[in-house]
Amino acid sequence: MEKDTISSKKNNIYENLKFHSTAVFTCKMQHGRQKKTQTEAQRIEREAEQKRRIEEYKVAQETVFNGKEAGKYDSEILQHTTELLELNPEINTAWNYRRQILQHLFISLQADEKQTELETELAFINSLIRKNIKSYWMWNHRKWILESMPTPNWEGELALINKLFDVDATNFHGWDYRRYVIDNLGTISDMDSLKLKEFDYTYKRIKQNFSNHSAWHYRSKLFPSVIQIIGPDLAKKLLKKEVEIIKRAIYSDPDDQNAWLYLEWLSDFGDEKHKIRTEGFTIAKELIELSPESKYAMISVIKYITDPANTANITTEDINLCLVYILKLKALDPFRAKMYDSLESKIKPTC
């Protein structure tokens, strides 16, 4: 019965527009909230509940903004900002005001009292952050707390981030915050040994899940520092180990792009470029023998063969192989056909 065609849905865009201009339409981002089919009674109940919450929110907001207008900076108004932010942590003005209130309250406090207050503030953030892990405002406020503390516990922050990653290992706010914590730890302890530890940590995360792009990314950021720190002899060994890790990742999931990207990046890095490239080429070719449909392996082989640095060694057989791969890739992955056209154009001039 339902005309589930694109053209019928296209018409709907206009229908919906008419509706929008008159309807009360939520502005809050609804990431991943599934819409459920409702009975009439459920709908009425839901609307009544929404109305009640909107009223509650309006009162909380008005109290806070009136306080701000009147220049109140006491613990009573602080409590009101707590209530408002619990209802909506996306209201940046309330976070700003909260910081101003706290700063006023701090004037009469000793360092240890200020520390206690800020630890309470951190506990407040901890209670909210689990539900609102993507809120930029909240992560900023957390930074402000730590920076305002007479004795910030950066190790504690690192431990907390480790725990967060046990639940969500690719949360980019968490990874950005981790690097911020490390920068701060570096001012009170040895940055080199911190970087080496962080480098090991990325391996720990990659081992748990070879598709953890956040960890691969961070590894690429740390790698240049790490080889500086350990010196040329150990750097050679490390490179060998990197290739092994890449190989294991590729074999565990050839259709995940992360390890391939890391390999490509490593192939452009430092004095061992040529060696890494050749090893990467071997990995890709071996993989194609085992699983001939491996898209990234074919791309990798084409890129190796068409690499301007390699043109002298290219045979007609190589060129033909590339052209066969291009045809296969276009059939396997038609969404990206134009990208393969571009790759193909790099093959032909060498014919």
């Binding site: 694109i6 309807a23 339409f25 939520t26 609804q30 207008e69 980019f172 950005d176």
Partner: protein
């Protein structure tokens, strides 16, 4: 969608102007603190209505990388917004291009993409803001064009089922209709929009529609909202899609404004327009 008349423009402008604060910036609502994010939206809306002249032009952005507000949040989003606002208001010399370009360059990653700042991992939305910033500054030449376009095209998901053809923001994440803007605008700036399948994107975005209440959700079957409706439609416009045989209004991929507005302000083909400053070798 070419239905500008659907809202009461005079009241929209009045409301937006009421959000401007004494410091020159705009808040998210009347009486709210200024932030670059809201200032950008305000300037975009006023540009749409050709009412930029009504702004009290006190805004005086700091040189260097941009901060969101007085609390010092820094981000490639603000690098773009700072440049865009100054350019829309015709104050481009007020802001140091060099330090912004440097900040964006330091945010470039092994996969060719850009993160929220130096050290941050690549994310399609941050790629858009970084590319848009570089486009305005006339420094797209620092981008690894083929690598980044390849990474962006990999954002299109091939899984079978209702999510097929949708775009995600990072590897291993679910597709989301708002990436129709972040990914497609980025590819468009790079001149590689054809590296994804437009029909498949359209199919996914239209499946995200709420056919009862209207609007577009992040994924099929979820609650719709203004954010996803805006960026879902905006992406379809860049892809040159039509509705009932009529093309959607053409959008500029850098400023996220209709082409006629950007042309009126000379932001694209004018002497300092981003298309004028586009790398010659990319054309």
């Amino acid at each position: 969608m070419g239905r500008f008349d659907a809202l009461d423009g005079e009241n929209v402008v009045k409301y937006v102007l009421s959000c401007q604060n004494k410091d020159g910036g705009f808040g998210g609502h009347t009486g709210h603190d200024s932030h670059l994010l809201y200032t950008m939206s305000a300037v975009q809306i006023l540009a749409l209505y050709d009412r930029l002249g009504d702004i009290n032009k006190e805004a005086n952005p700091e040189t260097g990388y941009m901060q969101g507000d007085e609390y010092g949040e820094t981000d490639t989003r603000f690098a773009f917004i700072g440049l865009a606002i100054c350019n829309i208001l015709g104050n481009i010399e007020q802001i140091s291009h060099e330090s912004i370009v440097e900040f964006v360059e330091q945010s470039m990653n092994y996969d060719g993409g850009f993160g929220s700042g130096p050290g941050g991992e690549s994310h399609a939305a941050q790629v858009y803001t970084s590319l848009a910033a570089l486009a305005i500054a006339g420094r797209l030449d620092i981008v690894n064009r083929e690598k980044l376009a390849g990474w962006l095209s990999e954002r299109q998901q091939t899984m079978v089922g209702p999510l097929a053809g949708g775009l995600n923001g990072r590897p291993q994440k679910l597709p989301d209709s708002c990436y129709s803007w972040w990914v497609v605008s980025s590819l468009s700036i790079l001149g590689r929009i054809e590296w994804i399948d437009a029909n498949a994107v359209e199919k996914f975005v239209l499946k995200c529609q709420d056919t009862e209440a209207g609007g577009i959700a992040d994924r099929p079957g979820d609650y719709p909202d203004v954010y996803h409706t805006c960026f879902g439609i905006a992406g379809l416009s860049l892809l040159g899609r039509k509705v009932n045989g009529t093309p959607l209004l053409s959008l500029d991929p850098v400023y996220c404004l209709p082409v006629h507005v950007v042309d009126r302000l000379g932001l694209s083909k004018g002497p300092n327009g981003w298309r004028t400053l586009y790398p010659k070798s990319w054309v």
